[in-house]
């Protein structure tokens, strides 16, 4: 399906890189007109970051860009020119939402502060998402997604054990917490505007947004005054609960026992009735106290078997077990994702079909079909000539001034 839930809603989208564009993508996927403002004088870093189709670098060849910008329209505007900044203001006058993920003060310097844009469009919904918020002693701290993991304790908590932090392998907050908190806030502002006729300013500090993703841990530390244990793949409540090596190169399974009945079923399945009949292990506290013995028994069994066979042996007993899947495994061999048609191939004029994740839900039993990402500046002429009614001569003149580069 191609939902038109947001038909008639227009975004002037100044976001770039990862977290900002990922948050506006879902609006384009649901029928909003998202005008992505970009310039080759300061290219979107995911256009230049790759991966590139066949490893060949090119402005329109980045898979990372494709995955963050489906269905958007690209309008090339060099914001270093007065003319381009004027065009942005004209676009805002025709927009419902304007969004950016620049550092504090950048929008004001461009003449795009909230008050200034409210004068042009009184009911505008205005989203900013700087890393640490607009004001305060660390507002100007520079960071990447991993910096946000660091200051919110996610990095410290992602640990094999006590004082052995590793941190997430990705810029994790960029990929769910911040884009989707931002999208939820914009949807709330749209709901509010529909009732009141008023727009709203949204100031999303990416650190504050991400702190909510470890909200339970923060509540615990606040309540107890005690630092949380670094438990890695283990559980504070039961055992075995870990990632174990399976047969094959770098093959792993995650396995989590959550009650005593499952433990007994597990001991049967792995051929260790001796452990099943050991009363000291028949309850969670006993298993946690004998963690090494319990985990060694499981590890000794899993390492001799393929992940598929481990899963086939345990899943019928209601034990939570799963292969630790790589990207390739998910794409090529995951029967669940395949059955639910999670992967979409979207045609692209420059790089051919692009593999994309669907939005992670169905609506009324159907997938939301994605439209391809835009080529750089693909819609500049149509938007300037159509929406803003500029003549071909005027557009050519703007081009001559470098305003559309």
């Amino acid at each position: 399906m191609r939902p038109n839930f947001l038909k008639g809603i227009r975004f002037t989208d100044l976001t770039w890189a990862g977290a900002g564009p990922f948050g506006t993508k879902v609006f384009a996927d649901f029928g909003a007109e998202v005008l992505k403002i970009e310039s080759m004088t300061r290219p979107d870093s995911v256009r230049t970051a790759g991966p590139f189709k066949d490893g060949v670098v090119g402005t329109n060849r980045s898979g990372y860009f494709a995955s963050r910008n489906t269905g958007k329209h690209s309008v090339s505007l060099n914001l270093k020119t007065d003319e381009a900044r004027r065009i942005v203001r004209d676009l805002v006058a025709h927009s419902d939402v304007v969004c950016n993920n620049f550092g504090p003060g950048a929008m004001d310097r461009l003449g795009f502060g909230y008050e200034a844009l409210c004068e042009i469009k009184p009911d505008i919904i205005y989203l900013s998402m700087p890393m640490y918020g607009q004001d305060g002693p660390r507002a100007d701290l520079l960071g990447v997604g991993m910096t946000i993991s660091a200051v919110t304790s996610i990095m410290w908590q992602t640990a094999y054990g006590p004082n052995d932090p590793v941190g997430p392998g990705t810029h994790y907050p960029d990929h769910a917490a911040n884009p989707y908190h931002a999208a939820f806030a914009v949807l709330a502002a749209l709901a509010q505007r529909r009732k009141t006729g008023r727009g709203m300013k949204i100031d999303l500090s990416q650190v504050e947004s991400t702190a909510n993703f470890v909200g339970s841990a923060i509540v615990e530390a606040a309540a107890t005054g005690i630092e949380l244990p670094q438990i890695g793949n283990r559980s504070r409540n039961d055992a075995p609960h870990n990632i174990f090596r399976a047969r094959g190169h770098d093959a792993w399974v995650a396995l989590a026992v959550t009650d005593d009945a499952q433990w007994h079923a597990l001991t049967e399945a792995i051929g260790r009735p001796d452990l099943g009949s050991d009363a000291t292990l028949s309850h969670a506290a006993g298993r946690l106290a004998a963690l090494k013995r319990v985990e060694d028994a499981v590890a000794g069994w899993t390492r001799e078997l393929d992940a598929t066979d481990i899963i086939a042996a345990l899943r019928p007993h209601g034990i939570a077990v799963a292969r630790v899947s790589s990207s390739r495994e998910l794409i090529e061999n995951d029967p669940q994702l395949a059955h639910r048609r999670y992967w979409q191939h979207v045609d692209h004029p420059e790089v051919g079909p692009v593999l994309l994740s669907s939005l992670p839900f169905t609506i009324d039993g159907e997938r939301v079909h994605l439209e391809r990402p835009p080529l750089f500046g693909e819609h500049t002429n149509a938007v300037l000539g159509g929406l803003l009614g500029l003549s071909t001569e005027r557009i050519d003149a703007l081009n001559g001034l470098g305003a559309l580069s």
Binding site: F5, V46, G50, P51, G63, G133, G136, L142, T147, V151, T152, S153, I154, M155, Q157, Y160, V166, G167, H171, H175, Y180, A182, L187, A189, Q192, K195, T196, D203, L204, S205, V207, A211, N212, V214, G215, S216, A217, I218, V219, E220, A223, E227, G232, N233, I243, V253, A254, A284, R323, V324, S325, L330, I331, Q336, H339, R340, L355, F361, I363, G365
Partner: protein, 389 residues
């Protein structure tokens, strides 16, 4: 004061993966009622256990994820309970279901009660497919969704992220999907069924690793092996760890750092000015990572997290403290912005005699709105009075 969702009534029967959805709506004015079987939904039963070993840390997750929600006991096995539900459903805009919870297997009946309602169901793998009924936990979902694969050291096992991230990731996606469906339902009068798979939500949050395989046939590996610059890591300092990012693509950050070290006269400055540090590819190697750690830490160990952060601010180095959870509560920026709320947690005080009035600091809003429409309050205790229709 009107609030974004003050005209939205939500019946919430989630107890694990779906709990953050109702929380986000409640913060912005929705009336969210947990409909619980006698004795409570599973998360309440665990949070209320007499045994601390069972109760912790579930009780804190309970308080965080159910803040602002009301609670009502409803026996859906009994006729009067079902009649009461039908009445509630007729005036609800959103119904939240979760696999293993009440009414998940009665989707058609739930839908039949109101043509304009949005029914969002949350489950580990979605309603359809060969794994629709497979058992799952946070750990196994982070594995099945591809997230665990990406973290950890290459010579050790993959590593999950902390704090039930499967619930958090699923929650934000499901909340956005629900809000989109609601926006349409209000415009058209037509309801929707949203089927959210936690595995898919996680697989949607894997940075660029799907495209790395599709376009370059490279499997993204944990530890960023072969892709992560030597500088993008944690380094020891006087009182803990700092996180630095200064790859060649962030040349300003690297140059500012080296400039500072040279200014102090510390020998690390000369060592890191050698020509090889301009070699982007060499900087990805194990050798470079080892040398950078030894050299840089000889410098950073002289300073505290706070001192290093101050220099990072002054000099535009991409560097910040690796905070523990207790550190987050003292973060000067968060304190300056008065991020934390104060909430009297009813569940926690009920079970813990030593803290009969457990008022604790609570994470503040994930976003600041220019109208005062966001607020948080404690999760309601279980309503002991069975509802009458």
């Amino acid at each position: 004061m009107e609030r974004p969702f003050d005209d939205v009534r939500i019946l919430d029967m989630t107890y694990e993966l779906g709990r953050y959805v109702g929380r986000l709506f409640a913060d912005l004015g929705a009336s969210v009622t947990r409909l619980e079987p006698p004795g409570g939904l599973p998360d309440r039963r665990q949070a209320g256990s007499d045994d601390p070993a069972t109760r912790e840390p579930a009780v804190y997750a309970f308080e965080f994820l159910n803040a602002g929600k009301e609670s009502r006991t409803l026996d859906l096995q009994a006729d009067d309970g079902r009649a009461a539900f039908a009445k509630l459903a007729a005036s609800a805009q959103v119904i939240l279901l979760e696999r293993g919870g009440p009414l998940y297997d009665e989707l058609d009946w739930v839908r039949s009660l109101s043509p304009s309602v949005v029914v969002t169901s949350v489950s580990p793998f979605g309603r359809t497919g060969p794994w629709a009924d497979a058992a799952a936990t946070d750990l196994t979902l982070q594995a099945a969704g591809g997230l665990a694969w990406l973290s950890g050291r290459l010579d050790d096992a993959p590593l999950r992220l902390p704090g039930s991230q499967a619930t958090m990731i699923t929650g934000v996606y499901a909340a956005v999907a629900t809000s989109l469906a609601l926006y349409d339902a209000k415009a058209t009068g037509r309801g929707h069924v949203v089927d959210v798979s936690a595995q898919e939500c996680i697989a949607h949050s894997l940075q660029n690793s799907i495209q790395m395989w599709d376009f370059e046939k490279k499997v993204s590996m944990r530890g960023g092996e072969g892709t992560r610059d030597a500088s993008e890591d944690m380094f020891a300092c006087k009182d803990g760890l700092i996180f630095l990012a200064a790859p060649r693509s962030l040349g300003v950050s690297w140059n500012a750092l080296i400039g500072w070290i040279l200014e102090t006269g510390h020998p690390a400055g000369e060592a890191l000015s050698e020509a090889r540090w301009a070699d982007r590819v060499w900087r990805l190697t194990k050798e470079a990572k080892h040398i950078l750690r030894e050299t840089l830490e000889s410098f950073t160990r002289q300073y505290t997290k706070q001192e290093l952060t101050q220099e990072a601010l002054k000099r535009k180095i991409v560097m910040g403290p690796v905070s523990t959870v207790l550190d987050v509560l003292e973060d000067p920026q968060l304190l300056h912005r008065e991020f934390f709320e104060s909430v009297a947690l009813k569940h926690l005080s009920a079970i813990n005699a030593t803290t009969p009035n457990a008022t604790v600091r609570f994470p503040g809003a994930p976003y600041r709105l220019s109208e005062p429409v966001w607020s948080v309050s404690a999760a309601a205790p279980l309503d002991q009075t069975p509802a009458r229709s």
